[in-house]
């Protein structure tokens, strides 16, 4: 949906509501996925949707309703539903009025829409995957994975006069090459599907899978661990999610309580967000219209900022940050080969699986290694080992980083640009059977 069509619908909401304050958003797009399992296309689907969400307020009482029916009757009904909810709701002391129109001046310029991605069809996608599967099958391995592409838009209009629209495209392929006794995995993410080379991703998954066959037993314990960027992003996402909410910290129930402004990691560690980062674009504004911030969360080891909602920022006399549009961890120059060569004894992991919080206050995370865990001895990979479970403190881990690679685009759940890391004394606590 283009800007004019979206804003036309949102204006109908503003016109139809008698509430004292109204915020209307319309978001959606087209998403298409081709899934591969054992070298065959097993699922192939495409859907288009647009969700219209209306928040109305009378005084400090507010209510929200949404619909996917964009007809005039439905628009009227969703406004009435949001108004009725607002009238039933007790006043909310944390209610914030709509974001002012002037906020749009703070929006970063983000251009991540590619016509070729929006028009990327199932035939071309299927053909690329079929070629890759045939190649991998020729080596005696099975290829599984998914290639998703599509476009998204987000439009907003509110009773304070703010109007905004942003659209983007996405392409993401991840492939797993599976042998008789071990697997490898690789991914590529880009707004532009022309930049996605399925054959190269399949080759990388196959290269790891070939190394990963017939893993040996190895006792769990503390090891120097080299993590590929995908593994780092998975840990980092939980680290941010667990600890960076300012309200929870100020109320004493997350692990970064009382640490704002303090040094929490070595000076080599900087973690930030920048929606206009060309290698990892984020959305320029958030669902409430607040500009996505270019901001450092950890600046040369110091906890520079936390996530402040508009209400909590006002209460604490801070600037609102909104949520990170992306996560960028500055890296170094070490190549993976250099990290391996400088390791006397350690492990190399492709990525992690099923990371969960064990203790949000310590903090402590658990998870499993996946699709390739390799033993390094005397500066070279000597073979695959069976997968392990870790229980690790991600904050403490930042203090044990010994080398960083150049940041790479990754991120299962949000755009992330992070380096490979070499970390000493990573805590593995048990092993599994493969």
């Amino acid at each position: 949906m283009n800007e004019s069509q979206a804003q036309s619908i949102l204006q109908k909401i503003l016109d139809a509501s008698n509430a004292e304050a109204v915020v209307a958003t319309l978001n959606g797009g087209m998403s298409a996925t081709t899934r591969l399992a054992d070298n065959l296309i097993t699922q192939n689907f495409e859907s288009s949707r647009a969700v219209l969400t209306v928040s109305c307020a009378y005084g400090q009482s507010h209510g929200t309703a949404s619909t996917e029916d964009l007809g005039d009757e439905s628009i009227k009904a969703v406004v009435e539903a949001a108004q009725a909810i607002a009238k039933s709701m007790p006043p909310d002391p944390e209610y914030m009025p709509p974001v002012e129109a002037g906020e749009t001046a703070k929006y970063a310029k983000v251009d991540g829409y590619f016509d070729q991605t929006a028009g990327f069809g199932p035939q071309e996608k299927g053909a690329q995957l079929a070629v890759a599967a045939k190649s991998v099958a020729g080596k005696g391995y099975r290829l599984s994975g998914a290639y998703t592409s599509g476009d998204e838009f987000l439009a907003i209009a509110n009773s304070a006069g703010l109007k905004a629209y942003h659209r983007s495209t996405q392409g993401e392929v991840h492939l797993t090459a599976i042998g008789n006794n071990g697997s490898g995995w690789a991914e590529k993410i880009s707004e532009n599907t022309d930049e996605i080379d399925v054959a190269a991703v399949a080759d990388e998954a196959l290269r790891i899978a070939e190394l990963a066959q017939d893993p040996a037993d190895l006792d769990a314990g503390k090891y120097t661990l080299i993590m590929q960027p995908a593994a780092v992003s998975e840990l980092l996402m939980f680290f941010i999610w667990m600890g960076f909410d300012a309200k929870a910290a100020d109320e004493g129930h997350n692990f970064l309580r009382g640490k704002l402004g303090q040094k929490i990691a070595p000076e080599t560690i900087t973690i930030r967000s920048d929606p206009a980062e060309p290698n990892c674009l984020g959305e320029p504004f958030q669902r409430d219209g607040l500009a996505s911030r270019t901001i450092s969360w950890v600046d040369e080891g110091a906890l520079a900022n936390m996530i402040y909602s508009r209400f909590w920022a006002k209460k604490q006399a801070k600037a609102p940050t909104g949520h990170p549009a992306n996560i960028i961890m500055d890296g170094g120059t070490a190549t993976l080969d250099e990290m391996v060569a400088s390791t006397e004894r350690g492990l190399l992991v492709t990525h992690f699986w099923y990371i969960r919080t064990v203790d949000p206050m310590r903090p402590l995370l658990t998870g499993m290694t996946r699709d390739g865990l390799f033993l390094i001895e005397s500066g070279r990979i000597v073979g695959a080992v069976k997968h392990m479970r870790f229980n690790e403190n991600p904050l403490d881990m930042l203090g044990r980083v010994e080398a960083m690679g150049p940041p790479q685009r990754t991120g299962e759940w949000m755009p992330m640009l992070v380096p490979a890391l070499k970390v000493r004394d990573f805590n593995f606590t048990s092993t599994t059977k493969f």
């Binding site: 296309i41 859907s47 949707r49 309703a65 007790p90 099923y354 969960r356 919080t357 064990v358």
Partner: protein, 481 residues
């Protein structure tokens, strides 16, 4: 709606589909959320659309739209066939095996005594605020979160084989959490009316307000609890805890698509492969795991699955042996079954049906046994209640679970509260150590909202029932080493 579903199926056949189904789904959700002494959010959402799935040229295609009107339906039916032709670029040489199913025509509705969407918002906000007052009145409790959530899904399904069914399911839960904070840490405790296929009567019959003070006190006690022991302990797990352990170590492991490698790229596979069917010793002889998509209150009870297969009841583990899987029409042939068990569901009209966990649970013990008797019979153990941390490898073997609240058991007595307890095991070792299950008086169905699977991920709901059960000599406390 039925005519539009038929129209979609006919349009797909006209374009060359050899099989087609169409689902029109309207999903309504209502969330009322409280934080401390305020109502944080009331949100009422509705999703409505149609998805058309086809087999053409021996391969799958699926397309969906939110514009439920004849012309648009014809467009997506044609698009689904187009997509199927793209799938045929890498299709199985022998095509898709689509198991036979009788033609169904009927209506399923969740029995609801009190329509939750007709209950006033004032009643819902009033309940949450009253609970919050009680919880926050406990000295040391600094935070309260609570929410009430209901969803109603109205689905029409037509297949090119002639099935035309309608289901209207109503699901709900209410849950809240108290957080106690001191100078060194913070600890929580929750209580809930667990997810059920039911109406507002489920909320009214759960002592949410009556338990609020105790929940707050537990959270405060949790702060001062003894550290977890490290070593082997006997574990007694309550149904509210065991639900997730079963979900992760049995439910996902016995989804036949995963077993066959169809979810390898994201959700993972399974150690319980089909060559082990009928032979794998999954657990002790007390382990009887039954799937039941007909059970009252079950979140996966909906009449027919999204393949048009009628709800069924069957064992996947009998007397400790792996005997079957959760299946769909596409994959049941792999184990020689002529009929699917009906486990395929999609999370919306915009999603393709995949095998999701049925209502699946541990059968109660056949001998009379109460929880108190089980504790009395345990010398050195830990009682675990509620969900905590959970993680399992992609083949469902190595797992580690926490919980919400823990108590030591010494010489047959429930003793001091513990904190930071986790246990870790290999699935078959763990279930092999099952040596007691309380009887059917204590069997309790616990709903799971938010099970992720698929790629991109879909979110499903289902129910896991059990009675309190004991597992001998499980490794405890390894996470804190």
């Amino acid at each position: 709606m039925k005519n539009l579903c038929r129209h979609a199926v006919e349009a797909a056949k006209h374009k060359g589909a050899t099989y087609a189904d169409a689902r029109i789904v309207r999903l309504r959700n209502q969330l009322v959320a409280a934080e401390d002494k305020r109502i944080e959010e009331i949100r009422d959402t509705e999703s409505f659309g149609v998805g058309v799935r086809v087999i053409a040229d021996g391969a799958w295609g699926f397309a969906a739209t939110a514009r439920v009107e004849p012309g648009e339906i014809e467009r997506i039916a044609a698009r689904a066939v187009e997509i199927a032709h793209a799938s045929a670029l890498a299709k199985a040489p022998d095509g898709i095996h689509w198991a036979a199913e009788p033609v169904h025509d009927g209506v399923f509705r969740t029995p609801v005594e009190k329509d939750p969407f007709e209950v006033s918002l004032e009643d819902k906000t009033g309940l949450l605020l009253a609970i919050g007052e009680e919880v926050l009145a406990v000295k040391g409790v600094k935070k309260y979160h609570g929410h009430i959530y209901f969803r109603r899904e109205h689905r029409f399904l037509a297949t090119s084989e002639g099935t035309l069914v309608e289901s209207e399911t109503t699901h709900g839960l209410a849950t809240y959490e108290a957080t106690a904070v001191d100078d060194s840490t913070a600890k929580t405790r929750y209580f809930e009316a667990p997810g059920r296929s039911a109406g507002w009567e489920h909320i009214e019959r759960t002592p949410l307000l009556a338990e609020a003070r105790r929940v707050g006190e537990d959270a405060v006690a949790h702060l001062k609890a003894k550290p977890t022991p490290v070593g082997k302990k006997d574990l007694i797990l309550t149904p509210s805890h065991l639900a997730l352990t079963m979900h992760e170590s049995i439910g996902h492991a016995t989804e036949l698509d995963r077993v066959l490698g169809m979810e390898e790229s994201l959700a993972g596979s399974s150690f319980a492969t089909i060559d082990k069917l009928g032979a794998l010793k999954y657990g002790s002889p007390l382990m009887n795991i039954v799937c039941d998509n007909t059970m009252p209150f079950g979140l996966a009870s909906r009449g027919w699955d999204d393949d048009g297969v009628a709800g069924q009841r069957w064992h996947v583990v009998k007397d400790g042996i792996l005997v079957d899987y959760m299946s769909g029409r596409e994959v049941c042939h792999a184990i020689g079954a002529e009929r699917s068990h009906g486990s395929c569901r999609a999370d919306s009209w915009a999603s393709i049906p995949i095998i999701r966990q049925s209502n699946i649970g541990l059968e109660p013990g056949t001998e009379p046994l109460t929880l108190d008797e089980l504790i009395s019979d345990t010398k050195d153990g830990i009682l675990i209640d509620g969900w905590g941390s959970f993680s399992i490898d992609q083949r469902r073997e190595n797992f580690q679970f926490g919980g919400d609240c823990f108590w030591e058991i010494k010489n047959g007595k429930k003793g001091a509260m513990l904190k930071d307890v986790t246990y870790q095991a290999i699935t078959t070792d763990f279930w092999g150590s099952l040596d007691a299950v309380c009887d059917k008086r204590f069997w309790d169905p616990v709903g799971i909202f938010g099970c992720g699977k698929g790629d991109p991920m879909q979110i499903a709901i289902m129910t896991h029932g059990s009675a309190p059960a004991r597992f001998r000599q499980i490794d405890v406390g390894g996470a804190t080493k």
